[in-house]
């Protein structure tokens, strides 16, 4: 169905000869600043919200990359830049060896079929005035891949695949529960058989009991269709469940990245340690034994981020150097090459941050 049209038909995507075959998407040094306008009729830019500031990542074929961080750290902005919904200020997004950064709507069109999104809010992401059949059938209509009865059959197959009753084709979104609505969103994202699905906090709006169902569905679909996921969440236990690699973001920058098990077992960045210690554990015994690192203060304004390491005002290990020099993202403390941390004083294995020196809570 989706193979009928030539995929690289659009001009404008520049091939990259150095692109590795097993990588699906590569993001290099992506920057997204939102200008802040002031003044009425003739507006001028008085500053920038530095939502994403130099993030690089790779998503391998069939892999799941977990993207975690607090609200407002630029996760969703990064996702929208990769999906081509927001123009990037600088940096590149390369999809299967072709630069797809800031393509025009027309040039982006063939890549829309390859990169799809699942949205956070199952209530806001479905048009309340349209029937489910029409919503899931939209991708077919827009890309003219199926019409009439063929489209209806394709939509009903999708509904069945994601665990919805195909008979409910003619219902409105309001007649479904949150979990079912998210399944509708999954079916819509799946319709064009994309290679990459960007899931922007796909389960954070759902009941915990429903979360597992949707997560299992996503992982089944990954096996069946060979999907790659960029999975955004602020719940680390969810990310741990699904991700091959994890990327921890703080205030528009990558704090730490690496294979999931390594980052979870030996987090190096104090921020990662704090995030991990905040994730609730299912076992009350281990929960009681754990050290809790409680961060003080709020996330600083991305309009005027702190100098040096952006985390230093809240970091229990911060020293003079942290406010002056920005740490490079590199492997620390004998970690393997792919586990990298942007920290001058990475946390040692077994170190107890809760009692560490440095700044006391304000």
């Amino acid at each position: 169905m989706s193979e009928t049209l030539p995929r690289d038909a659009a001009a404008g995507a520049v091939p990259d000869p150095e692109f590795e075959d097993d990588v699906l998407v590569r993001v290099d040094n992506l920057v997204k600043y939102f200008p802040i306008k002031a003044g009425g009729l003739i507006s001028r830019t008085v500053g920038h919200v530095q939502a994403v500031d130099g993030v690089s990542l790779k998503v391998g074929r069939g892999q799941t990359i977990g993207l975690v961080g607090e609200t407002g750290c630029g996760k969703s902005t990064l996702a929208r830049c990769i999906a081509g919904l927001l123009p990037a200020t600088s940096g590149t997004v390369t999809f299967e060896g072709k630069n797809i950064t800031n393509l025009s709507r027309r040039a982006m069109r063939p890549y829309r079929r390859e990169i799809q999104m699942i949205f956070q809010d199952p209530y806001g992401s479905l048009n309340p005035r349209r029937r489910v059949g029409a919503i899931i059938g939209d991708p077919f209509t827009i890309h003219r891949t199926a019409t009439g009865n063929e489209r209806k059959r394709a939509v009903q197959e999708l509904m069945e695949r994601v665990g919805l009753n195909p008979e409910h084709y003619n219902r409105f979104p309001a007649e479904f529960s949150g979990g079912q609505r998210q399944r509708i969103g999954v079916a819509r994202a799946l319709a064009l058989r994309p290679k990459l699905i960007i899931a922007d906090e796909p389960v954070s709006a759902l009941d915990v009991s429903i979360q597992a169902q949707v997560l299992n569905l996503l992982s089944d679909l990954q096996d069946d269709f060979g999907l790659s996921y960029l999975f955004i969440a602020h719940d680390l236990s969810v990310v741990k469940h699904v991700s091959d690699a994890v990327l921890v973001m703080y205030l528009g920058r990558v704090a730490e990245q690496g294979p999931g098990d390594l980052v979870y077992a030996t987090p190096r960045h104090p921020y990662s340690v704090a995030l991990l210690s905040a994730a609730p554990a299912a076992d009350p015994d281990s929960a009681a034994a754990r050290q809790r690192v409680i961060l003080t203060g709020d996330v600083p304004s991305p309009i005027n981020p702190p100098s040096g390491c952006r985390f230093h005002p809240r970091c229990p290990k911060a020293q003079e150097l942290c406010s002056q020099q920005e740490p490079a993202l590199e492997s620390k403390a004998g970690d393997p090459q792919e586990h990298r941390t942007a920290c001058h004083f990475p946390v040692e294995t077994g170190e107890n941050l809760a009692t560490a020196g440095g700044r006391s809570p304000r």
């Binding site: 929208r80 999906a83 081509g84 919904l85 709507r105 982006m108 069109r109 829309r112 079929r113 799809q116 999104m117 949205f119 956070q120 809010d121 806001g124 992401s125 479905l126 048009n127 309340p128 005035r129 349209r130 029937r131 939209d138 991708p139 827009i142 890309h143 008979e167 409910h168 003619n170 219902r171 409105f172 309001a174 007649e175 969103g185 819509r188 064009l192």
Partner: protein, 345 residues
Amino acid sequence: MSVTELEFQAHSVEAAPAEAIQGRSQWQLTWRRLRHDKMAIASIVVILIVALLAILAPVFASLLGHGPYQAFTSKGLSVDGLPVAPGVNGFPLGTDYVGRDLLVRILYGARISLFVGISTTAMATVLGVAVGLVAGYFGGWIDTVLARFIDAVLAFPIIVLALALAAIYGSSLLIVIAVITFFSWAGISRIVRGQTLSIKEKEYIEAARSLGAGPWRIMFIDILPNLLGPVLVLATLYIPTAIVFEATLSFLGIGIPAPTPSWGIILSEAQQFYQTSWWYVVFPAAALLITTLAFNLLGDGVRDAMDPRTERLFAGSTKRRKRKAAAPAGPDATPPAAAAAGMGG
């Protein structure tokens, strides 16, 4: 609702599970609520009667043997040369100042009023929705230009423009329609623009963009259905405004030219005769009042049906209350469709 209707409803839900699966659209839900609004239903009936009378105006004319322009100088006027009273000499509502049948002229006037009211509202709605959508969706300088233009139109002295146009081109039906349309679309545009501004930030619009939908598809497939509700209410309320507007222009002599039977013209002619011939004023005024009142009440009803949260003072809700009270007493299987229908919208 009568008992038989209740039974019938319960029955149909049991009998047809396939029907229960079919979700009810916004329009079905609105109609279901509107159906129980006595005032709105009465308004619809009145409007339909007025429309039917307007359509059948030539039939009445031929039955009575009185054309709309036919002046009966002998039997249509009294010895003093004044209009004759209702019922005299076979004129059911009397005659006007040259002895024409008032009933026939009022019926023909209904044609003009309905035509002007509906055609101007239709054109103003299409134009207003298009401009509002484009301004709201594209934003930027397009929005700035269009929004200022809307403001300019809304600030324009309408009577002055109508007078000027009538002076230059002479008064005609076309100019009346053009003037009313020109001053009606801006209000609709402003509402549509505001709604579009809020709807375009919704996540489902972003979802449509991520699927590769273009701006026109997003505007007309994704945004438009979400604002048809307020637009419909507004349009229903614009019809009576346009009817009154036409009557006003005609009354002032800058609307439809004189011999044409328009309610405004009849009222204007009647000014000199209200002391001697009450019917000359009362009947065309009543026709105008009843028609515009019916449209206004229907507009209120549609608004209430669209948004069930607003409660109206005189909405005929005694039956609704009775129905609510009767519901738990009925068979324990609550029809799922009815329950879903109550929540949706």
